[in-house]
């Protein structure tokens, strides 16, 4: 135990030594940040978003800073599920924390094939990304309408023997309906939110900044909306929820946990402070002590 504060949490039967998880796409497969600190300190790491086949990602500008946030249009550049299974997993296993494979897709078949392969590999959890706004075909389409999501989650559920997290898009028509549909379709946990569909224009060039016109907004700017979504989903579903969106500080972590989150993911903050994982963890212990919280599970959902 850290200084008499219990930070250990359980999500869908999986034990996390603390509720901090590195968010998909912001942390690679962990090895770069591991040069700066022992990323095994974190509760878990969600891998860069995988697709069945390798992808080069999007052309043009991929990242753009905004007020208290950033936009990205990486477009799921990744080595593909097979390469991940062959090399990535072993690498991530070294860290000794929970290994979450994040997987996106373009078609029902890709999702099913990819999930089948990952389910048979040495991962702890599968995080199904039905919400990436940066791929033209499919991708977010699955994350907008609850009935479409329900179908894909249901199919993936059938082939996935590992605990299944479904990652929701804040662009969903109705986040609560979406959550309920995914729960019904067999999700063991939900994670939210992914990035918000957003836009930037280069007024000098008189053109959208991103080749794809729209890109995904993340960072502190979105925290209040993400927190609302997590709160409203937690009030309605039975499965555990992983809160994501603009979490930068230990205070933010407590807000999400009080809103009902079982764990949280940190994304953009890693770019602002490459030691964010270690720093927030440290602060969280002290903050809990200060606030008289001896077990983080005590305060879950008290708001």
């Amino acid at each position: 135990m850290n200084h008499n504060v219990n930070l250990a949490v359980k999500v869908a039967g999986v034990d996390f030594k603390n509720p901090l998880i590195a968010a998909s796409g912001t942390f690679g497969f962990g090895e770069e940040y591991n040069e700066l600190y022992d990323v095994g300190l974190l509760g878990g790491i969600s891998s860069k978003g995988l697709t069945l086949h390798p992808k080069d990602g999007n052309e043009g500008i991929r990242v753009w800073e905004t007020a208290s946030g950033m936009m990205n249009s990486v477009g799921l550049q990744n080595p593909g599920v097979e390469a991940f299974i062959d090399h990535g997993i072993a690498q991530m296993r070294h860290f000794g924390n929970v290994l979450i494979a994040n997987m996106g897709g373009h078609s029902m078949e890709d999702y099913i094939t990819g999930a089948t392969m990952l389910s048979n590999a040495d991962i702890d959890m599968l995080e199904l990304n039905i919400s990436c706004p940066n791929v033209k075909s499919g991708g977010m389409a699955f994350g907008i309408k609850a009935d479409v999501a329900k179908e894909v989650v249901g199919e993936v559920r059938k082939v996935c023997a590992k605990p299944l997290i479904v990652k929701l898009s804040p662009n969903a028509e109705n986040i609560v309906d979406m959550a309920l549909a995914c729960e019904e379709a067999g999700a063991d946990a939900l994670s939210l939110v992914n990035t918000f569909q957003a836009m930037a224009i280069d007024i000098h060039k008189r053109k959208p900044v991103f080749n794809n016109v729209y890109a995904g907004l993340s960072g502190a700017a979105i925290k209040p909306i993400a927190l609302r979504m997590v709160h409203s989903v937690c009030k309605k579903v039975q499965v555990p929820v992983i809160g994501i969106g603009g979490i930068y500080t230990a205070e933010d972590v407590l807000e999400f946990v009080m809103a009902g989150a079982a764990a949280v993911q940190i994304g953009t903050v890693n770019f602002n402070n490459p030691l964010a994982g270690a720093d927030i963890l440290d602060d969280l212990v002290h903050l809990c002590q200060k606030e008289g919280i001896s077990d983080i599970n005590e305060i879950r959902g008290i708001c």
């Binding site: 942390f27 770069e32 080069d56 990602g57 753009w64 800073e65 950033m70 990486v74 490459p274």
Partner: protein
């Protein structure tokens, strides 16, 4: 590569929009062509900003930067004694060990500063280095190249100083074994094309918008002949013949 806090020793304004920031070095190897991610803010700005090593002295790192936006404007406010955060040294740098013969460094705008440390490193190896430095209108950093270079050629767009036109007009790649270039993409492309014609080895240092600066986010990926590469980690220096542009 480390993430650490350092203290500002000096922050001198050189021209209207060019500054030299000098910070305590705090150990760590740092090679010519590498860069640091810098921030002198907390979360007011989301991302750190990449700035190349202009000079690496035993006790100090020097960065020469142009104020173009919010981040560099905040850097310009730094005063001696102020703290800032550094992440680095980052990137691959120039392969100075593998370079021999006569070298030309060809820089434009704020692509010039990293070539200073490069010239120094190559000169220290006993190589002869000529510098081709292209400016918009006002010169900067030229005197910093003098100790390390045999010849220095300077150009400005309208001829306010030195040659009138582009510095690439002055370059003859056939006179060199290796050409190293850093600056606006159009300039580097021109240099690369000229080197391709004469078969001269050419290294280009790319600029790209970055988020993490350490290879994790894939925000800076470019397509190369060897597949997707991260400018921040696999670069910023690439052999011109590996680039697709």
């Amino acid at each position: 590569m480390r993430y650490f806090e350092s203290e500002v020793i000096a922050n001198r304004q050189i021209t209207e929009d060019i500054f030299v920031l000098q910070v305590e070095r705090c150990g760590a190897e740092a090679a010519a062509g590498q860069y640091y991610m810098l921030k002198s803010w907390d979360t007011e700005l989301t991302l750190m900003r990449p700035i190349s090593i202009f000079k690496a002295e035993p006790d100090a790192l020097h960065f020469m930067y142009r104020t173009v936006g919010k981040g560099t404007a905040k850097m310009a406010e730094l005063k001696p004694g102020d703290k800032l955060k550094l992440l680095g040294p980052a990137g691959n740098g120039y392969p100075c060990d593998q370079i021999s013969g006569k070298v030309a460094v060809v820089g434009g705008g704020v692509g010039i500063p990293p070539l200073c440390e490069t010239s120094k490193t190559l000169q220290a190896k006993g190589l002869s280095v000529d510098a081709y430095l292209g400016f918009r209108d006002v010169l900067f950093a030229v005197e910093d190249f003098e100790p390390w270079c045999s010849d220095i050629f300077v150009s400005t767009e309208k001829g306010e100083e030195g040659y009138r036109g582009f510095v690439t007009d002055l370059l003859k790649p056939e006179n060199y074994d290796v050409v190293i270039t850093c600056g606006p993409e159009v300039m580097m492309r021109k240099v690369a094309a000229m080197c391709a014609e004469t078969g001269t080895t050419c290294y280009c240092s790319l600029e790209h918008r970055m988020a993490c600066g350490i290879g994790a986010c894939l925000g800076c990926s470019i397509r190369t002949k060897n597949g997707m590469k991260r400018v921040c980690k696999d670069g910023p220096v690439f052999l011109s013949t590996d680039l697709l542009w």
